[in-house]
């Protein structure tokens, strides 16, 4: 996969290379490999900070659930397990298609990259549509958190049962965690659209597929977060 047709005259020679750099190589990098490694390391450190940002919500979840296990169990029954599972499968599939987009870009198949990127974006749309139906249903049931919570009132009883008022904490966490994740889905769609645009412009090649690789890493992160959100919110034991 690596016939570097344009470049480098000899091992480790960089001083003279400025005039002969391929167009994608920024001048402060010695070689394409150098640039690729720098991009990836930056992305992994960013992924670490993302995990820690979601970490705050996971900590809040763990503490409240530890104190109110029965409330969490009662409240989680108001979520739709089947919709959650369907969305899990959609996101896992989109991770596969994102990985396939990277793979096709690595072998220089521009059309294949375009195809898999579009399918990944469509999966993201499906995910958001399902989420939209879930959210509107929660709004309708008075399950908004804080002072907007109504599910403790008889008028909002579900199969004859009301929730205790303090179940609003579960929904506060539900909306914050899935909401922040949803924002990441939107940002990921933006990034993948940008990658798709560059690919269509012919800026992606098997010598330079860094944008596809980094964009896909972000998309896999979105998937990773959901992998934990799904059992924690929808499958409370």
């Amino acid at each position: 996969m690596s016939s570097a047709t344009t470049t480098e005259a000899s091992h480790g020679a960089h001083a003279e290379a400025h005039g002969h750099h391929p167009p994608f190589l920024q001048h402060h990098f010695d070689t394409p490999a150098h640039q690729f490694d720098a991009a990836k390391m930056g992305m992994w450190i960013f992924i670490c900070t993302e995990i820690l940002m979601f970490g705050g919500l996971f900590v809040a979840y763990g503490l409240f659930r530890g104190r109110e296990p029965e409330i969490f169990h009662l409240a989680h029954e108001r979520l739709d397990k089947i919709m959650g599972a369907a969305n899990t499968i959609v996101l896992l599939f989109s991770s596969l298609t994102a990985a396939l987009a990277v793979r096709q870009s690595q072998v220089g198949d521009r059309k294949g990259t375009t195809r898999w990127l579009i399918i990944t974006l469509l999966c993201a749309c499906v995910f958001l549509v399902v989420k939209y139906f879930e959210y509107t249903h929660k709004f309708h049931d008075g399950l908004l958190p804080g002072t907007h919570f109504r599910a403790h009132l008889p008028a909002y009883a579900h199969h004859g049962h009301t929730l205790p008022y303090r179940a609003h904490m579960f929904f506060a966490l539900y909306f914050m965690m899935t909401g922040l994740h949803g924002v990441h889905v939107l940002v990921g769609m933006g990034i993948l659209t940008w990658v798709l645009k560059r690919n269509l412009r012919g800026e992606i090649s098997k010598e330079y597929f860094t944008p596809v690789e980094i964009g896909a890493l972000y998309w896999h992160l979105v998937d990773l977060v959901w992998i934990y959100l799904f059992p924690l919110l929808y499958l409370v034991g």
């Binding site: 996969m1 570097a4 394409p32 390391m41 499968i89 896992l92 991770s95 596969l96 990985a99 793979r103």
Partner: protein, 151 residues
Amino acid sequence: MSTATNEHHADHSNDDGAVHAHVSSPLFMIGIFATLIVLTIVTVAVSYVDLGSANSFVALLVATLKAGLVSTFFMHLRWDRPFHALVFIFSFVFLAIFIGFTNDDLSTRGEIDPNNGVHVLERSGAVAPGGIQVPAAPPATPGHETHEEHH
């Protein structure tokens, strides 16, 4: 030099400056995806069986297996520089520190307010700053003020 076709040696032995990343076969990736789906089905199935506290343990174990598969193969950590895997693993170490210390702090003070689920001040019994007032259920329950006096 430039036309040397040293294919598929995704390691440091290549020194021509070009990017040498591992290329997975599509079939292998579909295999990983199928495993992820099977694990999802397992975790949903287990949620219908009452295993007591083991339910959460199984759910988190399966989630971690899935996260491991995605990061190792779809995110290429298997073939990447070990430093990237180290960064990834350490984010979870820091998360564990975060959870551990916060839990230690919160489990050694205060009480839970029966309505709000937030802490009340230990000495006076008053609601700690930042709590939420229970919205007055139009005709149903009495207001929150009287409740607070009752403490």
